[in-house]
Amino acid sequence: MGQAKWVSSRHSRKKNRVIPGFGLSMGITISMLSLIVLIPLLSIFVVLSGVGPADFWKAISDPQAIAAYRVSLICALAAALVNALFGTILAWILVRYRFPGRRILDGLIELPFALPTAVAGIALTTLYSDNGWIGKLLAGIGIKVAYTPIGITIALIFIGIPFVVRAIQPVLEKLDGQYEEAATMLGASGWQTFRRVVFPEIRPALLTGFGLAFARGLGEYGSVIFIAGNIPYETQIVPLIIMSKLEQFNYGAATSIALIMIVFSFLTLFAINFIQSRLNHAAKGAE
């Protein structure tokens, strides 16, 4: 098989011929990918084939599951929106301004990737519970955060912020300051310049960051479960439903809901790719 690919690639591009190692590296790549990722994933379909359409439908349309889809979607969306706003601000100040502590701020952005999610989860829960530092303040004005959807959203903001900042930052760094200068000279205000000149340039990156943060939020578990509190119909997110079905040894239902979740994550990623290619086309058309 490796030999056949070798020959066909020789025809398509002559220069491939000289570099060695195609067969071996491709063989190792495909076998490891299959063993670790693809075959285990396919067992979802093996199990589902034994579930039957009626049970499948019952599992995914269970009112508790539907409530969980809603909670997961709304919280992930709210968190991604907040992150889109603050992520843009953070990327902007990190690239455009010089102020003391900028490098430390820049390094801190990736903390949510480095800090184990369970640690973030218990820290946020303690911070926002009724006698925690922030929870106490908010309880004073009648806002309850821990064990409510607001708490879930806060955990998802924590986990998603690096995606947006790191998506926008390189685009802003490459952006030529000349257009902004021209806009300012023509009398545009700072906000007008940002909205008309800078924003269209960073929009695709913002969308990517937003989508990644949203997708991560849909599947996030460790940082959320502590602050969510697992109240059915209120703060039960989809991963928690899957987990509780597994604890009841209801593998069929767990797998059915897992499939819905996978479909949803892939739809999100496809949607982002689609919108992005549309935006790129539009940008090219404008030129």
Binding site: S8, S9, S12, R13, K15, V18, I19, G21, M26, I28, T29, M32, L33, I36, V37, L38, P40, L41, S43, V46, F86, I89, I93, Y97, L105, G107, L108, E110, L111, F113, A114, L115, P116, T117, A118, V119, I122, A123, L127, W133, I134, F158, I161, S189, W191, L218, G219, E220, Y221, G222, F226, P239, I242, M243, L246, Y251, T255, A258, M261, L269
Partner: protein, 291 residues
């Protein structure tokens, strides 16, 4: 006086239109810094304060607890195996994808990215579906008396799964950007594959490789969801450090939970610093190449 006046007014004229810009600058910096302080720094401070709340003795007792040490050992084992395995994969996958043209390359890259796109809970679930009581490999494992689910191999497998793309994803774009010219020259002069990789390719990608390894380590150390599904929460046997923290927290042993967490906070900060150093060095070297 008279001479100074025009200069002063000129200064004022120059400064005035800049004022709204300055106000915006400080407002935005204020907003950004406040966001980071409240969302990221405050949780870190919470961990440290609560860890030491009941004094040093309680703290050191919690982190030298035999269960905590066993959990730390298992976490380190899973991390080392995952990093070695995924680095091995990354080195070969990036070579296959960046140095050759073949049909379905984009598709293959997408497949490698799958573990990033799905929830860690599902990553754990799939191993239960393969090796668990309903899994198709269960009978085989029974006959040879091998335990995967609710045992150490399951935890290691789940950790490998969730960190699978890290190194490959870092290396592929880097090697694609580098082009094939130097490797072709080396091959034409008769160098063997491994020699080319080590002597020609590796020096260009070493910072990217290190970067991928650091990210992979961070994720493997902290993985919670996937490991939680396959562990079965057997204390002293299948508990990793994050799972140990969960148990302590749910048993209302807050100080102990935060004390153990503080170990992971320290590793997280070390990882952040290393990451920044590696990124800085990588960029610097890239700059030198351009010059």
């Amino acid at each position: 006086m008279n001479l100074a006046n025009p200069a002063e007014t000129a200064n004022r004229v120059q400064e005035k239109p800049r004022d709204p810009g300055k106000a915006a600058k400080y407002t935005l910096i204020g907003l950004g810094v406040a966001f980071i302080l409240i969302m990221l720094v405050l949780p870190l401070i919470t961990v440290c304060v609560y860890a030491l709340k009941q004094g040093w003795d309680v703290f050191s007792q919690a982190i030298t607890d035999p269960y905590a040490i066993k959990a730390l050992r298992l976490t380190l084992l899973a991390t080392v195996v995952a990093v070695v395995c995924n680095t091995f994969f990354g080195l070969f996958a990036s070579w296959a994808i960046s140095k050759f043209h073949f049909r379905g390359k984009q598709f293959l890259t997408t497949l490698i990215d799958i573990p990033f796109a799905i929830s860690p809970i599902i990553a754990g679930l799939v191993f239960i579906l393969v090796f668990g009581r309903i899994g198709w490999a269960y009978d085989f494992l029974q006959t040879y008396d091998i335990k995967v689910v609710f045992a150490v191999p399951g935890i290691i497998l789940a950790t490998i799964f969730v960190t699978f793309p890290f190194v490959a994803r870092e290396l592929i774009p880097l090697m694609q950007a580098q082009g094939n010219d130097e490797e072709e020259a080396a091959a034409l002069m008769g160098a063997k594959w491994w020699t080319i990789y080590r002597k020609v390719t590796l020096p260009h990608i070493k910072w990217g490789l290190l970067y991928g390894v650091i990210l992979c380590t961070a994720r493997a150390l902290g993985e919670f969801g996937a490991v939680s599904v396959v562990s079965g929460h057997l204390r002293g046997k299948t508990n990793t450090l994050p799972l140990h923290i969960e148990i302590l927290f749910n048993e209302f042993q807050l100080t102990a939970a935060f004390a153990v967490s503080s170990i992971l906070v320290v590793t997280a900060i070390i990882i952040l610093i290393l990451r920044n150093i590696v990124e800085f060095k990588g960029r610097k070297e890239e700059g030198e190449h351009v010059r």
